[in-house]
Amino acid sequence: MFRYHVLRELSGYLDNQLSDKQKLKVERHLQGCQLCSQELSKLRLISQKLKAWQAPELGPFFEDAVKKEIAHQGLEKGEVKMKKKTLAILVPSGVLAGILVFAFLGSLYIQRGVVGRLRSGEDKIGEQFDPSKRDKPYYVPQSKFDARLSSKDQARFIYNGMPEVLKAMPNKTSYWTGTQEFAQGGENYEPYYINEGRYANRIDNTVSIRQSAMGNVRVASGGPTAPILPITPSEGSVIVIQPVLPATGEGEKIIRSAEVKLEVEDGKATYTKANEICQELDGYLASSNFYKDKEGREAGTITMRIPKDKFLAALEKLAALGKVESSLTNSQDVSQEYANLKARLDAAMVVYNKTLEALQKRQTTIPEAMRLESELTPILQRVEQLKNQIEYLNNAVSFTTVTLRFHEPQVSAKVLEESKNSIKESLLTAGINGIRFFAQAIPVVIVAVLWLGIIIGVAFLVKYWILRIFKRG
């Protein structure tokens, strides 16, 4: 009698899948165990009988079909299957995401989180872009042009059939670059130029400049004494400053000044940088003003004195600090005035020297000396006065005056940031409400799932019942 049998090892023994040691052990057992030997015989019989099931072979067209499929559709078919798999994941995910987004947007609409605030103007965003709600006229940049007029010329700009006039300052050569804007007021369009902060003067019988169909400025009637610069292709309200100074002869005394108006993102940084530019160009600050308006936008005005040889460099550097709204450059020729002063000084000096010489003579009597001295004093005052005037002119000529006006945009980054925060707050509130909505819907979903489970269970019971009927039948 054996304490154990090798029934579980018999399959492996039959298939010759045992190790030598196991095989030896089974063989020894089989020699003395009739039960296991009979079991092995049965298994061997079954294994032999299994060979009786001869599966048919494939037909002759299989290979051709496979090769054809490989050649024409094989790889593509695989890719399609992969696409189907991907779609099987993406489509349900997309549908789910769509439902969530729809529910979220619906909750947004219901809560009127954003829409309501925008409509009611709480965050002032709608108001900023709504001309009807503004105290000031709504400005729309219409055109951009860059023209230069020589002294005593006056030009009329015609734009969209509306004659407008830009007056050139007398005895000056004006370089005017700016954005022409129109404000709607009453029946007529009233023009003005925001870069100058005042309305342009209407003047008749002036040089007219029309904007041609090609987009360039050309002379329509009369004629300017200086060339008209071509228009740079318009890009909204961006203005290109190209100041061109007239050549001055040696000894000519010309006082130059410029005013640049910028829209900047950061007023304080602009103020600092402008100071740095002034120092870098060996200039000095004449005056400065920095402030914040009611809406919290930073603005300021800096007047700086820059050596005349660094005038253009200063304009270029300042223009790079922000978006140029306007740039006005003026030149005043004071050569004649300077020459007059010099002549008067020379004459005064002659009188002064002669008087002084007479006074210093020994034969001069005391009363006469007193008279000469009383005459000398006003002459001396006159000489000093003329010297001061000449020195003032020299200073004005050697140092140009550059005024920088800057302000942060009407819809500044800060205001936008505050608006964004307001919107974020609205979105957050709406999001929380959306989550609450879903949370409230969870019990409904649970009940629905339970009902679905019951229905499926009943269906499977019916299936089982039908199966049994089929079996019996």
């Binding site: 298939d15 299994l50 099931w53 072979e57 494939l58 299936k463």
Partner: protein
């Protein structure tokens, strides 16, 4: 090409020799088809699986590494496809179908053919077919790979992604089940003769 081992032929196909596919088809089209047929019991489905196997072989030829037997690799593909199709059928086969004797997979048939059904089969192969298809899927698969494809247990374990011990158990149980179902009939036939 004919003197080369399966792995070498596959490597040649990997390198771009189109003729290698002819050789692989010649060698494996019937084993793959017969394996699929015995597994599914459906000739059309078996042919579809066989075709899909060779398309996959073509599609993933660059991923083939001759570290194991080629036969193990190709039967693994067949196994995966068969399991995949079975899962799909299980999912869709919510409602029962009356057994037509050949078309349906065993999972949707009565697991135990009645003695009357067995007796009604005139040929032994038909009875064997019914008995084998009455086995659970993994037992059936392991037994088919052993008895008809003559693979050793190690290879079967790789194909089924099971341990060696599991494969031994599966084959043992499959034979025990067959013994229970088939022996009465065999003894009856023997006694009748």
């Amino acid at each position: 090409m004919q003197g080369l081992r399966d792995e070498e032929v596959m490597l040649n196909y990997q390198k771009g020799e189109v003729e290698a596919m002819d050789e692989l088809l010649r060698r494996y089209k019937n084993p793959v088809y017969q394996f699929a047929l015995r597994l599914s019991g459906n000739a059309a489905e078996a042919e579809d699986i066989a075709q899909e196997v060779f398309l996959r072989l073509h599609q993933y030829k660059d991923e083939y590494r001759p570290s194991g037997k080629f036969s193990t690799w190709i039967f693994s593909i067949t196994h995966n496809l068969a399991v995949s199709r079975l899962r799909k059928k299980k999912w869709w086969a919510v409602w029962p179908r009356r057994d037509d004797g050949s078309e349906a997979l065993v999972e949707f048939q009565s697991p135990d053919p009645s003695p009357e059904e067995i007796a009604s089969e005139n040929e032994l192969s038909g009875i064997l077919k019914k008995c084998i298809q009455g086995l659970p899927f993994l037992q059936r698969e392991a037994l088919i790979l052993r008895e008809y494809q003559n693979l050793d247990y190690q290879d079967i374990a790789k194909i089924l992604k099971k341990s060696l011990g599991t494969v031994k158990t599966l084959i043992h149980r499959a034979r025990q089940n067959l013994k229970t179902r088939l022996l009465p009939y065999l003894e009856e036939v023997k006694g009748g003769v």
